[in-house]
């Protein structure tokens, strides 16, 4: 039987079991690295460095994990804080704050065109709104979990989500809402 996250955490805490922590890393690395790649807009080297630091911090602070949220959500919170602190150190991170130039949406009804336009539209959103949408739709986090992960008040989470969707609607207005 596959041990659960709490089982592995308990083994880490009681006997400093690095093998158990290795299992946790393997289980959650994709989500943490994927989230950081999303935040860094695809910078895989930078996101992997941040992901490694995320797991090291998690190892150090494992005793502080109270189990109030899912372990994966807790890890995403550490990752987001690390990214935010790194960004503060750099003052401006144009890759996070401003998107790429968005080509005019083409309403040809072609599915790959739609995907391309969606990806471009997402890239064009401000960083916080993109992050909120990714946490909600890619990682299926609840509003409360997004608030816990990012440290934003619940109202801010809802604002970022609704503003992000509103902007996407505007950017994708050329697309007919009929099924692609």
């Amino acid at each position: 039987m596959t041990p659960t996250d709490p089982d592995l955490i308990l083994r880490c805490l009681t006997s400093d079991d690095t093998a158990a922590f290795g299992d946790l890393v393997r289980r959650h690395q994709s989500a943490v690295r994927g989230f950081l790649r999303h935040l860094t807009r695809g910078d895989s080297a930078r996101s992997d460095d941040l992901a490694q630091e995320t797991f090291i911090r998690a190892w150090r602070g494992l005793a502080g994990y109270r189990g109030g949220s899912r372990f994966g959500t807790w890890l995403l919170g550490i990752a987001y804080n690390l990214f935010r602190n790194e960004r503060r150190g750099q003052r401006n991170d144009p890759a996070f704050d401003a998107g790429n130039e968005f080509p005019a949406a083409a309403s040809t009804g072609n599915l790959s065109d739609l995907r391309q336009d969606l990806a471009s539209a997402l890239d064009r959103l401000p960083g916080d709104e993109r992050t909120a949408l990714a946490l909600s739709l890619q990682f299926s986090l609840t509003h409360e979990e997004i608030a816990a992960t990012t440290g934003w008040p619940l109202g801010t989470v809802k604002t970022h989500l609704s503003r992000g969707k509103e902007q996407l609607r505007g950017l994708l207005a050329a697309w007919n809402p009929s099924p692609p």
Binding site: C12, D16, T18, F21, G22, V25, R26, Q29, S30, R33, G34, D48, A51, Q52, F55, I56, W59, R60, L62, A63, L114, R115, L118, A119, L122, L133, A134, L137, Q138, K165, L168, R169, L172, A173, W175, N176, P177, P180
Partner: protein
């Protein structure tokens, strides 16, 4: 016509869907970089406990030098009153009270640190 929420969310989920990233030795790199868990914190706690205890010991010595065998509350109260009367500065009462509470906190921190060090062995 505008895109309704469920349709937009469905499209977004599709656009954001990413394949599972292969580990590619990532976990091994993390494990190789892991520090011994808890040691820096234990050292910090121990240093804190020692400094608190030293300051507490200073206060205890001052109380003993006051020449009384009535430990703690009575001596402390008399010391505070005497200090307030002599100096005419009521803030001394506050300072001594804070120092006393800190001393008790120091004892607690020392006990926690000793327990923590014992566990990490």
């Amino acid at each position: 016509m505008s895109l309704d929420d469920p349709r937009l969310e469905e499209w977004l989920r599709e656009a954001l869907r990413e394949p599972q990233l292969p580990d590619d030795g990532f976990a091994e790199r993390v494990l190789a970089a892991l520090p011994p868990r808890g040691q820096p914190l234990d050292r910090y706690r121990a240093a804190l406990a020692i400094s608190w205890t030293a300051s507490g010991a200073g206060i205890a010595a001052a109380l003993c030098l006051a020449g009384s065998t009535d430990w703690a509350a009575g001596v402390l109260a008399r010391l505070v009153n005497a200090a307030t009367l002599l100096t005419g500065r009521p803030w001394i009462s506050f300072a001594v009270t804070v120092a006393f509470v800190s001393y008790m906190g120091g004892l607690y921190a020392a006990r926690a640190a000793v327990g923590s060090l014992g566990r990490s062995r």
